[in-house]
Symmetry: C2
Amino acid sequence: MPELRKDPIVGRWVIIATERAKRPNDFAGQSVQIRGTGFCPFCEGNESKTPPEVLAYGRNNGAAPNTPGWTVRVVPNKFPALGIEGELERSGEGLFDRMNGIGAHEVIIETTNHQLTLAQLSVRQIEEVLWAYRDRMLDLKNDKRFRYILIFKNHGEAAGASLEHTHSQLIALPIVPRQVREEVSSAHRYYQDKERCIFCDMVRQELADGVRVIVDNEHFVALAPYAPRFPFETWILPKQHLSAFENAQSPLYHSLARLLKEVLVRVDVVLDRPPYNYILHTSPIGEESNEHYHWHIEFMPKLTKVAGFEWGSGFYINPTPPEEAARFLREAQVPAAD
Amino acid sequence: MPELRKDPIVGRWVIIATERAKRPNDFAGQSVQIRGTGFCPFCEGNESKTPPEVLAYGRNNGAAPNTPGWTVRVVPNKFPALGIEGELERSGEGLFDRMNGIGAHEVIIETTNHQLTLAQLSVRQIEEVLWAYRDRMLDLKNDKRFRYILIFKNHGEAAGASLEHTHSQLIALPIVPRQVREEVSSAHRYYQDKERCIFCDMVRQELADGVRVIVDNEHFVALAPYAPRFPFETWILPKQHLSAFENAQSPLYHSLARLLKEVLVRVDVVLDRPPYNYILHTSPIGEESNEHYHWHIEFMPKLTKVAGFEWGSGFYINPTPPEEAARFLREAQVPAAD
């Protein structure tokens, strides 16, 4: 008998297949291959082919911007979903509401090396990527037009990546997306009821129980959530309460880099280098310090197709119980991290 | 400058690209091809290879069930997402809530002919498919364990169809999915405020305006919604207020079959037979007669990939303005319907 499970934070129900559960080998392999053919605007030496950079780490003092020698580089998206120029204008048309599409859309180029995936970067290099996320968030928060900054990564064409050179994206939005608002509001209601953070409660219960824990370190835990939408969905949460990613103390970025690499390497081994998405969930601008919301990363390998049932109901059918997914990832034989 | 638009019913924001908007030819072709190779359990003559049918139309009086001679046939899904047997049991585990996966999962086989798509069936045959939807809904509503019946279609492998013989699916659920509940609740709030159905208002505004209307007939209109998630997303709504699909007067099924075929044929011409999903949005069980909710079909060709941004925000980037999508579909040269 399948099981219906409810996510305690957002209230989303999922159907978990408990019989004939799909194991890693049951997912049709769509391994991400780096082809490296053709021109790549993200490679070192091609800096003039992107819009001028907004951040770069690693160049020697005195080196000019938009030249080689960087380690991580952030540039505006050449084909932005939103435009950075202008004032926000709102208008209506009968029943309908719109505003002009003011926002920022940036690309975080995670390495100069076209051949490497994020999982293959050193912990030190992954840490630089995380610092770039933070520095861009802090800078964009000065722009009073923005209410939310969403950072995400699409890896592999099947997960929506249009360029294969490893990169993340940042979109600054003039509104808080409804899904983020609902997540924060649900956590707030729980806090009002219990005076505890629901994520802290979840981390405590999961660490005590252990069955859905994949790996942890001093500051973070990676776990399979109780009601995952997708097979092998994995969340990485700070063990201590912290509501905004960009306000973490500096040792946390190193810890997170280590755990993120650990998760990515395990996923690559168990699922044969699948396409994936991850999303940084953090507090909206202006609400960064609070007791109810707890920033985290939601990681989702792209193994199944979202179809009519999911679109119609917002209700997901997941063919792999999270306890089994966690066990596969926990027991994977992987080399020790550098 | 892109535009942010808000869906007036569910409050979802989307980003509509207004410059460099994608036209039909810009979407990488992934035409659905019927290969017809290999064994098909849905073909006439293979009735014994499915679970025993729960409904069939078209056989001569006296013919045995699960034999050839049918026009539309409904069978339980051989690999159901939910199980039909047993009582609903709810339980908790610390923070978490679950129930056993009681439900029904059925397949509506739309024709005996493996080579045809729904768009290629006659209006009469499509009407039979709609009657099968209705008859199964009415029957399953007698089961007191169910709160919602979701009918949907996945067409083409990229849209999640695992068998190519044209079929729809039905899932009866022991809970009302949150997304359905939100849609109905939003419509209810609008009604409380204005004493009008928001869908009726939308239909009136769109018919008066015309720019997003694709095609209409005496009872139905097909339009591109103001804030579509996906390029060429199309909704089909009854012009007169009606809250539940299964309670329509019989002439409406014929009208709907004509308009649905018209839309599918136009989509096949303009987008070169794309994979697609459609979902029947109707009132929850026990709330079928009301003034605020208005049943409809949401049709979404599968042209783009949903990626990190959409998963993280519930906010969609749509590269084709609905006004342009509607114009392409409206102006398509198609043969007259039979």
